[in-house]
């Protein structure tokens, strides 16, 4: 008995170390990124030189960056809206409608989940060039929506599969017309999947590079702006932007966790 618990404790110790190492691997780099955004030195080397807001100040005076930020919001919000408008009906179609070519449709829609973004990017670039579309933020939005529909479809579809169909029958039984059933019963019950996939789509679109790289015109999104400055060299200013983006991600995570807390079921 004693040896068993000792063994278990030793096992837990080993596992605890593994966990700690993995968490360090995941979070130390992020911590370093944040720390150097406050470091009073233009090079990213140890030892630290002291605290400064300087990098944030230059940031807020950088009009290109601010414009890129605005563009990113515009793109991410529009793309998220589009993914919902297309992804939700697609999930419903996959869940409950039989139509010819359904298997092909499903595979096609879900493909971008694992397909490198660059393929989506260049294939759409070819299309836009062929039909003579001017590359712009709008083409980026279409590209993001295409790549991210898969997120909405998988999440909403999974929720629909778990949805108790007798709820909808009960609504109809109680006199609800189909649209009333949809808005008063179905929608509230897939709410968490909708919000979750919308938040995720927004975040991924906000950070997207490969598709944007090929589809954007003269306008830059924030990651594209950072990308192009990066190639010129690394500066603490990027750490400052990064820290703000991480802060934003944190807000999104908290939002999604608090809004998606399982409440019914």
């Amino acid at each position: 008995m004693v040896s068993a618990t000792l063994k278990e404790r030793a096992g837990n110790g080993v596992f605890g170390t593994v966990i700690a190492c993995i968490l360090a691997y995941l979070y130390l780099p992020i911590l370093i990124l944040v720390i150097f955004s406050f470091n009073d030195s233009s090079s990213l080397t140890l030892p630290l030189k002291g605290f400064t807001w300087q990098w944030y100040e230059t940031l807020f005076n950088n009009s290109d960056l601010l414009q890129a930020l605005r563009n990113s919001f515009y793109v991410a919000i529009s793309a998220t809206t589009l993914t919902l408008l297309i992804g939700v009906p697609a999930a419903f179609a996959l869940d409950r409608i039989r139509f010819p070519g359904k298997t092909v449709f499903r595979r096609l829609v879900l493909l971008p989940l694992v397909l490198p973004g660059i393929i989506t990017g260049i294939s759409m670039l070819n299309l836009f060039k062929l039909v003579g579309f001017q590359l712009s933020l709008e083409t980026v939005i279409i590209g993001h929506a295409t790549a991210l529909i898969s997120i909405v479809v998988t999440q909403v579809f999974a929720r629909l599969q778990r949805l108790n169909r007798s709820l909808e029958e009960a609504a109809a039984d109680l006199g609800a017309r189909p649209w009333e059933t949809f808005f008063f019963v179905t929608l509230p019950n897939i709410r968490s999947a909708l919000i979750g996939s919308a938040l995720l789509s927004f975040t991924l679109s906000f950070d997207e590079i490969p598709v944007t790289f090929f589809l954007t015109g003269r306008d830059n999104t924030l990651p594209m702006y950072i990308w192009s400055t990066l190639r010129r060299g690394i500066t603490p200013e990027i750490n400052a932007v990064g820290t703000l983006i991480i802060l934003g991600s944190l807000v999104m995570i908290v939002l999604s966790v608090s809004m998606l807390r399982p409440q019914d079921e």
Binding site: L167, E169, D173, L174, P188, N189
Partner: protein, 368 residues
């Protein structure tokens, strides 16, 4: 009595080949408590769902209060259902759940509030009005489902295995509660169940279904005492079913050879000497004869060896073997004290006696 529901030659075929309901005609009177009874896959649930409007019949017609509703969608029918899993809306409070159906009627808010309160009172859940379904116990959820359905004052209340999710004690209590509710509000109830006790306890009339068709319709006592087929005899209660050959027919009685014994029975229809038949009798219709006791001269008497003896509390179930090898089951009510009643021991030889009137005969046609 006016009939409120009428199935007229209704059939339902799924996917072009699976016949779920096969040419069912049935009429249900206003205020009746009717149970559709049968094992899973017998078509009882499909029949109920067609009445609710969730499935459209492949052929035939369904009438509700004199109106043809065969192709009416569920939301236009004045029937309401208590679902097997209750199907309470998880995102709404109890009060909102019950109000849901009334809101769809564009009823005025105050009126809705009043009705919801009255109905929650009726099912004794007024104090839970602001809770969500997941905060309630199984029995309470069941009552919410009931309240939500009856608050709309439907012409017919449909119950799909309403008690199957409850544990045994609660189920018994709810059987009585449902029966009382039926008496109090006078609605027509149509319930689906696979539990014959439930059907016998609760309903005015039970419809026994098998393979998509109706086998027998009748009051509980009628089904139990005069089952139309061996299937009903076996599904409703327990029956000893033994193969035999008719020896002789005289009037209403027939003498049948069952193994080495000869039994006097009451055939349901015409039988002739030499015909192969099945003899059926309930385990509790057998009476144990004391060693020196004289049987009634018109009654059947036969011997058997006692096999297993199972103690059930108020009764004893014995598995016995006839001399020719047939197995039978016999139930014996115990008197004031189990010990005093003299339960036969395993391996002992006993004599049974039985009234010929309680031994129905089934012919080939009655086997289903």
């Amino acid at each position: 009595m006016a009939s409120i529901v009428k199935f007229d030659h209704v059939s339902k075929v799924f996917g072009g080949k699976i016949v779920a309901v096969n040419d069912v005609s049935l009429s249900i009177a206003e205020g009746e408590f009717v149970t559709l009874l049968g094992p899973s896959g017998c078509g009882k649930t499909t029949l109920l769902r067609m009445l609710a409007g969730f499935e459209a019949p492949s052929s035939g017609q369904i009438e509700l209060a004199g109106e043809d509703v065969t192709h009416l969608p569920p939301y236009k029918r004045n029937v309401n259902m208590v679902f097997q899993d209750y199907a309470l809306f998880p995102h709404l409070t109890i009060q909102k759940n019950v109000a849901f159906g009334l809101e769809r009627l564009r009823m005025d808010r105050e009126e809705i509030g009043k009705k919801v309160r009255a109905t929650l009172d009726l099912v004794d859940l007024s104090d839970k009005a602001d809770r969500k379904p997941h905060e309630l116990s199984g029995g309470q959820r069941q009552r919410v489902a009931l309240a939500r359905a009856i608050v709309r004052e439907p012409k017919v209340l449909l119950l799909d295995e309403p008690l199957s999710a409850l544990d045994a004690n609660l189920r018994e209590a709810m059987q009585v509660e449902l029966k009382h509710l039926h008496e109090r509000i006078g609605l027509t109830f149509v319930m689906v169940t696979h539990d014959q006790t439930e059907a016998l306890v609760m309903s005015d009339r039970t419809v026994v279904m098998h393979n998509g068709a109706i086998v027998q319709v009748g009051a509980p006592a009628e089904l139990y005492d005069r089952p139309a087929t061996t299937y009903v005899a076996d599904f409703v209660g327990t029956s000893n079913l033994l193969q035999g050959v008719v020896q002789k027919v005289n009037g209403v009685a027939a003498e049948v050879a069952v193994g080495s014994a000869s039994l006097r029975c009451t055939p349901r229809g015409e039988v002739a000497a030499g015909q192969e038949v099945i003899v059926g009798f309930r385990p509790e219709k057998l009476r144990l004869l004391g060693a020196s006791e004289k049987p009634d001269k018109d009654w059947n008497v036969f011997e058997a060896n006692v096999g297993e003896v199972l103690f059930h509390g108020s009764s004893v179930r014995m598995r016995c073997k006839l001399a020719s090898g047939e197995q039978i089951v016999c139930d014996m009510q115990l008197g004031t004290s189990a010990a005093a009643s003299g339960i036969p021991e395993q391996g002992s030889k006993v004599r049974f006696t039985m009234d010929p009137a309680s031994v129905p005969l089934f012919t080939e046609d009655d086997r289903a």
